[in-house]
């Protein structure tokens, strides 16, 4: 690892504020909140961000969509330049090569625009051509059947895009809704997380797996997927091969669930808010879950599916981000203490402290909450009519458009980075343990979302007064 020592020595002399610019979470906050603030300032001065937040509109024929792109070419170019500059500054600050990121992002943007436009086809839902699913399938096929150039990898920053999208999502999320629904989401998520972790850990240990692997698998399945697995692997001092095993299983099951959960929920005719809560309880990663929830939002109004399109994504976010993600530091701290005091010691001493909770806190959630507060303050005092006729089209809708772009970049990146041949071999026993947790998680999540708390999640999806 060349220059490693020099790098760490120079890093130790850096300002303590350096983390604010050296972590992806914080860059998602700066980009997302920056856009929200600019949109807010423009709105206050009678202007809007909507010119640059261009999105494909409904079309029926190829001529129509070609005409749309032709008429809005300048806006699409400006949007591309905006994203390129914002994400380019972020990836450069993280230490990635800009020379590779620029062409990679250009490819990502062009393919995303085509997928977004395909989703706007008036027959798209008839053929299940929802943009998240198309992006994922296309990416999976390309990454597993073609030899993609190495430079393309630099533009495929799944987490960076999804975190930025979640911060922007906060702008369409009334803060009172978070206060109203947050406690229920936390309660439901706590039940499912504890039970799922218990099942995976218990089965894994019974099958003779190392306790550190059992814990890594457990948090990966119960809390926040790959992020949970990597966080707990470090906290408990897992063996080098433990995190890759857990990550392989999370990815495989998460991708299966992207397709299964929305399709089963649609077959059952679940309202959008209820389906979103189930997906938020039973998916394993933010990016995968948002792909499923965004897909389901496209089913609103079809075949008896009630609720607003946004309710699916909102319920998912409450359940997954507020209910599960924010607790990762607590899980890491508790398991670190248990690993240090109860499990076999092979000569490595850990120093767990309460600061672990903040160090591992997913900071992009702060951006999500602040974005919600900003737009909620902007809406304060407005009548429902004024909110719908002024604030929504001029402030909220452009930010939602930008959010959808960030999500499509993410969904396409998931497919393009999932190379099955490169994943670690998980082995039968970790697979059985993790799968036991998946089964319990999906059933329990379904019962809690559709029976125990059904009235609550259904109400979330009702249109306003």
């Amino acid at each position: 690892m060349p220059n490693h020592a020099n790098a760490i020595n120079s890093a130790t002399r850096q300002s303590p504020w350096r983390e604010l610019f050296a972590k992806e979470d914080w860059w998602a906050v700066w980009i997302g909140l920056g856009l929200v603030i600019v949109a807010g300032v423009l709105f206050a001065s009678g202007a809007s961000l909507k010119w640059i937040a261009v999105t494909p509109q409904k079309w029926s024929t190829i001529d129509q969509v070609a005409a749309q792109f032709g008429a809005n070419a300048t806006r699409y170019l400006a949007l591309f330049a905006l994203w390129l500059v914002l994400f380019g500054i972020g990836v450069r600050a993280l230490g990635l090569r800009l020379a590779e990121f620029v062409p990679a992002f250009a490819v990502l943007f062009i393919v995303s625009a085509l997928i977004y436009a395909l989703g706007a086809w008036d027959q798209a839902s008839r053929y299940n051509l929802e943009p998240p699913l198309v992006a994922l399938v296309l990416g999976l096929l390309a990454s597993n059947l073609l030899r993609l150039p190495a430079w393309l990898q630099s533009g495929l920053r799944v987490e960076f895009y999804i975190k930025t999208g979640i911060v922007l999502l906060g702008a369409g999320f009334p803060f009172v809704l978070i206060l109203w629904a947050g406690p229920v989401a936390i309660g439901q998520a706590a039940i499912v997380s504890l039970v799922t972790f218990g099942v995976i850990y218990f089965v894994a240990v019974k099958l003779g797996l190392d306790r550190r692997l059992a814990a890594t698998l457990g948090v990966g399945g119960a809390v926040c997927g790959v992020s949970g697995a990597i966080a707990v692997a470090g906290a408990v001092g897992a063996k080098k091969e433990h995190a890759p095993i857990a990550i392989t299983l999370v990815i495989l099951w998460a991708i299966v669930m992207i397709f299964v959960l929305p399709l089963v929920a649609r077959a059952l005719g679940l309202p959008t808010g209820v389906a979103g809560a189930w997906i938020g309880t039973s998916e394993f990663a933010d990016a995968a879950g948002l792909a499923a929830a965004q897909t389901y939002s496209g089913y609103a109004g079809q075949a008896g599916i009630t609720g607003t399109p946004e309710a699916s994504v909102q319920a998912f976010t409450l359940m997954k981000v507020i209910g599960r993600d924010v607790w990762i530091g607590v899980w890491a701290l508790v398991l670190s203490i248990i690993a240090t005091t109860r499990w076999e010691n092979d000569g490595v001493t850990s120093r767990a402290d309460a600061g672990e909770i903040w160090r591992r806190f997913p900071k992009f959630v702060i951006g999500f909450l602040i974005a919600s507060v900003i737009v909620s303050l902007a809406a304060r005092g407005l009548s429902y009519d004024a909110y719908k006729k002024t604030l929504t089209p001029e402030l909220v809708a452009p930010l939602q458009g930008l959010r959808n772009w960030a999500f499509i970049f993410c969904f396409l990146s998931i497919g393009l980075t999932t190379r099955l041949r490169d994943l670690a071999t998980a082995g039968a026993r970790p697979f059985y343990a993790f799968t036991a947790g998946v089964v319990v998680n999906v059933i329990l999540g379904y019962i809690l979302s559709t029976i125990v708390f059904v009235d609550f999640w259904q109400k979330l999806g009702q249109p306003g007064p």
Partner: protein
């Protein structure tokens, strides 16, 4: 190679100079971590806050917190 090192780790490193953070066997570089852990970039990231300042110990073949320590410590 651009090594990420958090302020929290810096503070702890200064308190515990023989921790993994300053050991020559330990690497917390996000780019190296992403290369060493297959699938991490698919639904996660080496640059995420949840990863804190953890890294790989090549000596013990373990993925450890930078604040950990052991008898095989060797200063950079």
């Amino acid at each position: 190679m651009n090594l990420w090192h958090s302020p929290a780790a810096t503070a702890r490193t200064q308190r515990a100079p023989r921790s993994c953070a300053t050991c020559r066997h330990f690497c917390a570089d996000p780019k190296a971590i992403e290369a060493a852990i297959p699938g991490l970039i698919t639904l996660g990231s080496g640059y995420a806050s949840v990863r804190s300042d953890d890294g790989l110990c090549e000596r013990r073949q373990r993925y450890l917190s930078a604040a950990s320590s052991c008898s095989q410590y060797e200063a950079r």
